[in-house]
């Protein structure tokens, strides 16, 4: 067993420039470009030229042993670019990035497979691409094969594999590499449900080795489960960093928000509180209270307030209600608070509670919401998304004596 603890990741003010559209040059274009360079008209790498854009702007972070960073954000935010810079596929335009130690990347785990080679040959090939020596692979060969579950097809060319077998074999090879730095990118959805559980357990095991870990995933529950900190990216910039739950909540809101109306809202949200605690058993009651005040210069109009419960796991809204749904009218002036008693009849897990202002005329949310979290715990008395508060009776059909 190798000793860990040497791994370290450093990203210092990294900028990365890409180009839109076609980038294939022709030899013909080379000569004018070389001439321009010769007479000192070198395009400055700091400026954007036609057809270029910044894929990353000034991103910095540092990770040491035991730290796990989750990177979230919409498609095209720059998440994969960060991973490709870390794995040395790309070099930054500006700034510096470095990773010390062996990097284990659970990304594109089957990229090196050659379709005409057998599973056995591909294990050696893919292993070598990841940086494993032949002896190391031979040592772990049986483990890799057993984990992937493709024993019977080891001497079959992988072009005859099903896509699931292909991905499972790739994951197994990558997961048996002993990294100093671990990078995980959307590989937790490989294979069937049984394999996914196994893969999740394996990644958990790797993460717990106290090495720096970077996770990119749209499965937000994975981020919440693995990471000690998180970063929300949008259009190449870091828009939020902090605890995974804070970033997840910010991401969910940003991804759904419609542009706020120009006039702003008449109601100012001040505080969102969950009582008695932010942790409750499934089926129990909590009280969500929203403290608000009316802005003096604006009429209340058709505005009200609402509360929403969203699953961190899936991002889905589980429950939403407003003062309009419940036919409540709000006071016309001053400060007020609204309290909802909610029965948490949901599956155990993390939930984001959002308090927001709702305009009933335009049918949209206005202003920015307040968020809090509630952890729903369970005793394992049910599975499925809804808590139905089961009560059970067993009666014997035989007459009792």
């Amino acid at each position: 067993m190798r000793t860990h603890g040497a791994g370290r990741v450093q990203f210092t003010r990294v900028w990365k420039k890409f180009r839109y559209g076609e980038v294939h040059n022709r030899l013909r274009d080379l000569i004018p470009a070389m001439l321009r360079q010769a007479i000192g008209q070198r395009p400055s790498p700091n400026a954007l030229w036609e057809g270029e854009f910044w894929a990353l702007r000034d991103v910095s972070f540092e990770l040491g042993p035991g730290q796990a960073l989750g990177i979230i954000g919409p498609n095209g935010a720059g998440k994969s670019t960060i991973l490709r810079l870390l794995t040395r596929i790309l070099r930054p335009t500006r700034g510096s990035c470095s990773a010390r130690g062996r990097i284990g990347a659970l990304i594109e785990v089957a990229a090196g497979f050659h379709p005409d080679l057998t599973g056995r040959e591909n294990i050696y090939l893919q292993g070598a691409i990841m940086g494993m020596g032949q002896r190391e692979i031979t040592q772990k060969f049986d483990e890799i094969v057993a984990f992937s579950g493709v024993e019977w097809f080891l001497d079959t060319p992988v072009k005859r594999y099903s896509s699931g077998m292909h991905a499972r074999l790739g994951f197994s090879i990558a997961a048996h590499f002993d990294p100093d730095v671990l990078i995980v990118d959307e590989v937790l959805s490989v294979g069937d449900a049984a394999f996914q559980r196994k893969a999740f357990a394996r990644v958990t095991e790797l993460v717990q080795r106290a090495i720096p870990v970077i996770v990119v995933s749209h499965q937000l529950d994975a981020i919440a489960a693995f990471c000690t900190e998180a970063m929300l990216l949008e259009a190449g910039s870091v828009v939020q960093r902090g605890t995974p739950l804070d970033c997840i909540a910010a991401y969910m809101q940003r991804s759904e928000r419609v542009p706020a109306s120009a006039s702003g809202s008449a109601i100012a949200l001040e505080r969102l509180a969950i009582e008695p605690t932010d942790s409750a058993a499934s089926g129990e009651d909590v009280t969500v209270s929203l403290h608000c005040s009316l802005r003096p210069d604006q009429p209340l109009g058709s505005e009200g307030v609402g509360v929403r419960l969203r699953s961190v796991e899936s991002g889905l809204v589980m429950f939403e209600t407003t003062t309009f749904h419940l036919h409540e009218t709000l006071p016309n002036a001053g400060a007020f608070s609204v309290a909802w008693d909610l029965q948490l009849n949901v599956h155990p897990g993390m939930y984001v509670v959002e308090g927001f202002v709702w305009n009933n005329m335009s049918g949209r949310e206005v202003g920015s919401a307040l968020t809090a979290y509630v952890r729903v715990t369970g005793r394992g008395e049910f599975s499925g998304p809804v808590q139905m508060n089961p009560r059970i009776r067993v009666a014997s059909a035989l007459a009792s004596t």
Partner: protein, 308 residues
């Protein structure tokens, strides 16, 4: 109790002309690039073996005549050379002798190796799109593996030629000792050219047309089917400017005529056929060419994923 308000940094719009405020680019030293590149290649030496093994086994899988291809391709080159020599012999009235035929065979082997490596190697990077954009390893491994694969083919063909040579009256001589240094120079030069071609092909897709021209017509500008000395006093020197020419001519003189390449060779008419300077010239091309391409390749390889 958890209570908090979102604090968000205002989002810069994608077309905002934001720029990094970092000082100017640091000029990298060629020697630093070179040592880094060799260090990387050494660290990934097992991968080089895996890729070579893969290329060999893929080439002969699902192939009707398998390993016979390694002999067939150079054989076709040799036969075309013989046809050409016979045709010229008819015109000039001086039919080619066994030594000439053996010379064509020996030089054809070297040429077939060069052409094969360059042909496979040029597309080796563009042909591995998924690997280049998704994983890291020193990219030079791909073209070098193409060259090594070709080397295995060449070894098979060498055995075939070695068996045939005695039938042309060529026996063992001390000149055979020159085979090894010439083979090394040919290997280095071929590697340099293949690295340059594969790299150029990433950025300029018309590079492969240029390569195609070299592969198809290069044989007319390289003394393979003919000998450089056929051009007379000045002509042979011009022909020898092609860095491959001294290697192929040297191979022929050493193997077929048993000539010691450390000594010059002048024929009965006073025509200079060989001087050791020719070999030095090719060696400079091979070593300097390889070092320069290795350094520039390393500079360019981090752009491959964006341009491939």
């Amino acid at each position: 109790m958890v209570t908090r308000e979102n604090t968000m940094v205002p989002l810069a719009s994608p077309d905002a002309q934001a720029s990094p405020d970092v000082e100017g680019e640091v000029r990298r030293k060629i020697s630093a690039d070179l040592t880094e590149h060799f260090r990387d290649l050494w660290a990934y030496r097992e991968l080089l073996l895996q890729f070579t093994r893969r290329d060999i086994s893929v080439r002969y899988k699902q192939a009707a005549i398998g390993v016979a291809w390694a002999v067939l391709t150079p054989l076709v080159v040799v036969l075309s050379g013989w046809v050409l020599r016979l045709a010229f012999g008819r015109i000039s009235g001086e039919m080619p002798n066994d030594q000439m035929m053996a010379g064509v065979a020996v030089k054809s082997l070297g040429w077939a190796f060069f052409v094969g490596a360059m042909g496979f190697g040029t597309a080796s990077i563009t042909g591995h799109l998924a690997l280049i954009t998704k994983t890291y390893f020193p990219r030079a491994i791909l073209p070098i593996a193409s060259v090594l694969t070709q080397l295995v083919d060449a070894a098979i063909a060498i055995v075939a030629v070695a068996i045939a040579l005695p039938f042309f009256g060529v026996g063992f001589s001390l000149g055979f000792l020159w085979i090894a240094p010439i083979a090394v120079l040919l290997l280095l030069f071929t590697t340099a050219v293949t690295l340059a071609a594969s790299c150029a092909n990433v950025f300029f897709r018309d590079a492969r047309h240029l390569v195609q021209i070299v592969l198809t017509f290069g044989i007319f500008f390289t003394p393979v089917f003919f000998d450089a000395s056929a051009f007379g006093h000045t002509g042979s020197r011009i022909a020898m400017l092609n860095p491959l020419a001294p290697l192929l001519e040297g191979l022929r003189l050493a193997v077929v005529q048993g000539h010691n390449l450390a000594r010059p060779l002048v024929d009965d008419t006073g025509l200079l056929i060989w001087t050791p300077l020719y070999l030095v010239y090719s060696a400079v091309w091979a070593f300097v060419g390889l070092l320069v391409t290795m350094a520039y390749f390393h500079r360019a390889e981090f752009d491959f994923a964006e341009y491939v």
